[in-house]
């Protein structure tokens, strides 16, 4: 029957709409379901997982020593030429010339956080930090020197 089908159509249509309306009304009245994180306000409680790839940093201990030998494994592993290692020659107390890093230049603006340099590093001198607020006003600020001034290689790292 045409009329019966017509009425059925109308009612099933209205029912499907009512089901949707009930769902949105549920969320309208249940504010505990709200999932918004108010980002700049929750900085204190916002902890990123330890594996989060934010930027490359070089680890320094309390004596301002790092483990980078300047082997350029990371520089070779990097797909974007993000890392540039400038080496110098230290004169050790015995009078031997020893290769060491002068500057570990890191271009954050080129980095894609692929983690390949960290994997490539034989001495675990660099790691990924969990920072993520990288905005700066000047593009040049994104080019960083990772080894701290006056730092030197830790004893025993080859």
């Amino acid at each position: 029957m045409f009329i019966v089908k017509y009425i059925k159509d109308v009612f099933s249509g209205l029912k499907s709409l009512a089901v949707g309306l009930r769902r949105t009304l549920y969320y309208f009245t249940h504010h505990k379901e709200i999932i918004t994180q108010q980002y700049p306000d929750n900085r204190e409680t916002l902890h990123l997982p330890e594996r989060f790839k934010g930027e490359v940093v070089m680890l320094h201990d309390e004596n301002n020593e790092h483990a980078c030998t300047g082997c350029t494994a990371c520089e070779l592993a990097c797909p974007n030429a993000t890392i540039k290692i400038i080496t110098k020659f230290d004169i050790s107390p015995e009078g031997k010339k020893k290769k060491a890093i002068d500057k570990f230049v890191y271009h954050l603006e080129l980095c894609t956080m692929c983690n390949l340099c960290i994997v490539a590093c034989p001495t675990d001198a660099i790691k990924m930090a969990q920072t993520f607020e990288h905005s700066v006003y000047n593009r040049a600020d994104l080019t960083k020197v990772l080894n701290k001034p006056g730092s030197k290689i830790r004893e025993g790292v080859e």
Binding site: V10, T24, F28, H31, I34, I35, T36
Partner: protein
Amino acid sequence: MLSFSNISKSIDSGLRATFDATWTMVIEMVIAGVCVISLFAILGLVLVLMERKVSAWMQIRLGPNRVGPKGMLQSLADTVKLLVKEGMTPDGADKFLFNLAPFIAIIVAMLLMAPIAFAKDFQLWDMNIGVLYVSAVSSLMVISILMAGWASNNKYSLMGAMRSGAQIVSYELSAGLSILSIVVLTGSLNLNDIILSQANGWWIFKGHIPVMIAFIIFIIAVTAETNRAPFDLAEAESELTAGFHTEYSGMKFALFFLAEYVNVFIVCAIGATLFFGGWMPFHIGHWEGFNQVMDFIPSSVWFFGKTFFLIFLIMWFRWTFPRLRIDQLLNLEWKYLLPISMFNLLLVTAMAILGWYF
């Protein structure tokens, strides 16, 4: 007791004591104009904020919460931003019509304010053809949209305008028919008479199922008439970018925006007047004590409460449903709403003649 009608009466008598009749009239008109414009502004601010909060909570978000206490001043900040924005007119546009369109939209919305009874004995213009006036003037809205779409010289705008033309013209019919069913029951076109006829109960309760059907059709039709989702084909963000107001910016865009919200308010006010008794308090049969308590609540609170409930309904639709396609939109009107509302009108008429209502 302090009420809108007492205030208006005291202002009227005060003016009459100092000025002659003509000047009183002029000054009262100015006051009324200022009141309507400020009501516009307030409505715009409140409704935009309400929409944003309603949508946010339905979408498990917080919504605006930064500007002012609990984000109350967010829409004010938006208004300021829109005011200081440059209002651009495209090069190829018909400049006169392009700039005229938003004003027509806002003027139509203003005209519609006239017959609405905001509280007991508080009405700008108590005319005997109130219902007819409302349905006649509200269809002028389409002119501003068509004008905006045509004058923008943009294909998206033109398509949006044409869609909206087809839509508003066809949904006028079922909106009109569902309004008629109340007119049949009360036997008057005067909005004040319609409200007074609901002193012993609102029509939605008195009129059984036929009036409820009329109400459902009314709310669907006015949602379409005000171009609100799921019938927002004139804007149809994902299809036409912004439809008829694609090229508008700054204050001209804000006027369209404001007109949309004021229109929503007006159609909901009409709906509240027709089906929920306007400012009439909620009364149950012979429960005298209960009725007296209800009478104690000011009439304006009743009116705005009902209106905002209906506005919430329309917002609720918007944030739940997907948009219809243009042919489905017209199918819905011509194949479903119109036949049903015609049949329903017949039922209501029979009911009115036989007196089968409370």
